[in-house]
């Protein structure tokens, strides 16, 4: 099926189903129930799930396969966003050329940065990419936004103004990003009993790209090229003494993952035609690292899970405030209720980053394989010893 083996094919089918049915799956609670705050089925968040999913899948092609830890991948995402917004400004609000251009520009950038950064490995590589990303941030934030040559519009962020040429824009087309006239923001709401489900054009458009990106990633992981990348990670000495120059392979992986980031950046701009320098800040690069590790670096589904979890937490956990907490623990005696609220308070609302940091530290220490490894461990607990033995060979394969 699709040129994949049975296991990968099943995984891909599950991901397709999840993506298509996401407006239902992530919206399990009726609109007016107390649990509705945990719903994630609204377009804005769903879009983020898939777009950052693309970003993390791409990052994983580099980090998961070759082991090169880039701390500057957000630069490509930012470049992609800027490129897309420029297409909106100059030519048309149609997202297709914008996204193509975003990927191309990100590819050019990643060839340049990758070519230089990959001259070093290990920690030097991480710091070089970090330096490049911070430089790009500084360039976007101030250097390239001077009156003589305003490429990024500095602090305000690049956006589309009425005075912009938009050469191919004409009457009848929506004044916002659209796909041949179909606005990205268009949402169909379906009410079913107490539930309200949202079907958003932008989400399905990005979701389609995510599926494509995911499929490509499976193919890369399973290809001889993917095997070569894993071999480089495993033992570069043997690779060189097998007559292979590792650099073209790693550069190719770097560029592919840079293009993924560019695609994600372009899609972000397509959902909301705005590009700001903060998208390139190194904390943004750190975030994609967190997503990938949290989900499981080197696994296929891990980055998608990690991206989803982090974006979900960012949106949901940060919305929980003391009132909500008091509601939850209202069944307890008053004193105990206050204690519980005080205990949990630092970890929710504005403190969600603390929760994220702690989860991350715990995952790196106890579960280096991320959520996927956690899932595998749990699955193994439920299976008999015989099954465990049989699993041994497949489980040891890092590219599960």
């Amino acid at each position: 099926m699709f040129g994949l083996n049975k296991k990968d094919g099943t995984l891909f089918l599950i991901v397709i189903a999840m993506t298509l049915l996401a407006p239902f799956i992530f919206n399990p609670f009726p609109t007016d129930s107390a649990m509705a705050q945990f719903n994630a089925g609204y377009p804005d968040l769903l879009q983020r799930f898939v777009i950052f999913g693309i970003f993390a899948i791409g990052f994983n092609i580099l980090f998961g396969l070759t082991g090169y830890l880039s701390f500057g991948h957000a630069a490509f995402l930012g470049v992609g966003s800027y490129a897309a917004v420029w297409i909106f400004k100059l030519f048309t609000y149609n997202v297709v050329p914008a996204i193509i251009f975003a990927v191309i520009v990100a590819a050019i950038f990643s060839v340049l940065i990758g070519f230089i950064s990959l001259r070093r490995s290990g920690i030097y590589f991480s710091i070089l990419t970090l330096a490049f990303a911070q430089m790009s941030f500084a360039l976007a934030y101030s250097v390239l936004s001077n009156p003589r040559f305003n490429l990024t519009n500095g602090e305000t962020g690049l956006q589309v103004y009425d005075a912009d040429p938009q050469m191919f824009h004409h009457e009848g087309l929506p004044g916002m990003p659209h796909l041949f006239g179909l606005p990205m923001r268009a949402t169909h709401e379906m009410t079913l009993g107490g539930w309200a489900f949202n079907f958003n054009v932008g989400y399905y458009f990005s979701g389609l790209f995510m599926l494509l990106a995911f499929y490509l990633a499976i193919r890369i992981f399973r290809s001889p090229f993917g095997m070569m990348l894993r071999a480089i990670k495993s033992n570069n000495t043997r690779m060189t003494y097998t007559g292979l120059n590792a650099k073209p392979y790693t550069l190719a992986a770097f560029v592919v993952s840079g293009m993924y980031a560019g695609l994600a950046g372009g899609l972000l701009a397509a959902m909301d035609p705005l590009a700001g320098a903060e998208r390139m800040f190194w904390t943004a690069s750190g975030e994609v690292v967190l997503m990938t590790i949290l989900g499981g670096a080197g696994t296929l589904i891990g980055p998608v899970l990690g991206a989803g979890l982090i974006k979900y937490m960012e949106n949901i956990v940060s919305k929980i405030n003391d009132n909500v907490l008091h509601q939850w623990f209202s069944f307890m005696p008053d004193g105990l209720e206050d204690v519980m609220v005080t205990l949990i308070h630092p970890f929710v609302g504005k403190g969600w980053n603390l929760t994220l940091g702690m989860i991350f530290v715990l995952v790196v220490i106890f579960l280096p394989g991320g959520l996927v490894e956690g899932g595998q461990r749990i699955a193994r607990l439920f299976r008999g010893k015989k099954a465990r033995e049989a699993e041994k060979s497949t489980q040891s394969n890092p590219a599960e």
Binding site: G67, L69, F71, I116, R119, R120, S121, G122, I123, Y124, S126, I127, L128, L130, A131, F132, Q134, M135, A138, L139, Y141, S142, V143, L144, N146, R148, N236, W282, T283, G286, V289, L290, I293, P346, K350, G351, N353, L354, L356, G357, M358, F360, V361, V364, I365, P368
Partner: protein, 340 residues
Amino acid sequence: MDSFILQILNGLDKGSAYALIALGLTLIFGTLGVVNFAHGALFMIGAFCAVTLQRLLSISHTVIDETQKDFLGNPLKVEQPYVIDWFGPEIGNGLIEWSVPLAVIFAIPVMVGVGYAMERGLIKHFYNRPHADQILVTFGLAIVLQEIIKYFFGANPIPTPAPDALNGVVNFGAALGLEVTYPLWRIVYFCFAAVIIGAIFAFLQFTTFGMVVRAGMADRETVGLLGINIDRRFTIMFGIAAAVAGLAGVMYTPINSPNYHMGMDFLVLSFVVVVVGGMGSLPGAVLAGFMLGILESFASTTWATTTIPGINQVIIYLVAIIVLLTRPRGLMGRKGVMED
């Protein structure tokens, strides 16, 4: 000429901070072989030691001052810090005013403790894991530490002034007939940094402990074979490195009001400094710290920023990239340290 000297001076204080952080990073990297992304957080915690001490000293209670009246004619209620009750107004106010320099004393045990806890509690389990894992776990730790500080102190910068006596401006070109006015505290900061750096080098150079540590940095295995408990010494080195970063943070508070993400801001640049100086080279770290600080200061002059807009924002990264590509080991890096 005047402005030339001024730019060098301007670069010194930032350079001092870079040098101190980079020195600690290099000590940790050289001894323990760990890439510590949480080192900036230590700098930040140090800065917040100063804030904490200032707050502790300012804890006050309400007293009714009969000598002053409010606009209704009632005796005025004023907040009076306890230190004034205990030591009298002169010493009490003096303590509050001098809280930043005093915080140096307060910060040393705190930072050594934090460093010790960090090393024993977390980092020691990562000695034999890949560098990527070390980066990741210390990065996570840095997030946790800065979020904890944010929880207690809020997200806004907290002004922490220097004592009035050290707060002025000096013109120290006067003797030479030049006009070079410069904030006094920055001079203090530079001298402080110079003393600390000198002390570290002297410690490593002239004590047996330092000798073992230096030997360990050069060849860990051999020193381990000599039956010397190198790990315990390295733990102490981690504590010292943490204290250095913390003190750098304490003294930096009057220059820049501390906020919870200042550590990360400095960390990225300090890493660049370490790499430019040469991974594992202590003199390299110090040299590169001052060099990049001064370079940044020159790039911030109006002349430079009008010629190439924004050059001050990117100069350090540009230099780092050029250095790494032409001298992959950095300015003073040794062979065999972190090579692939």
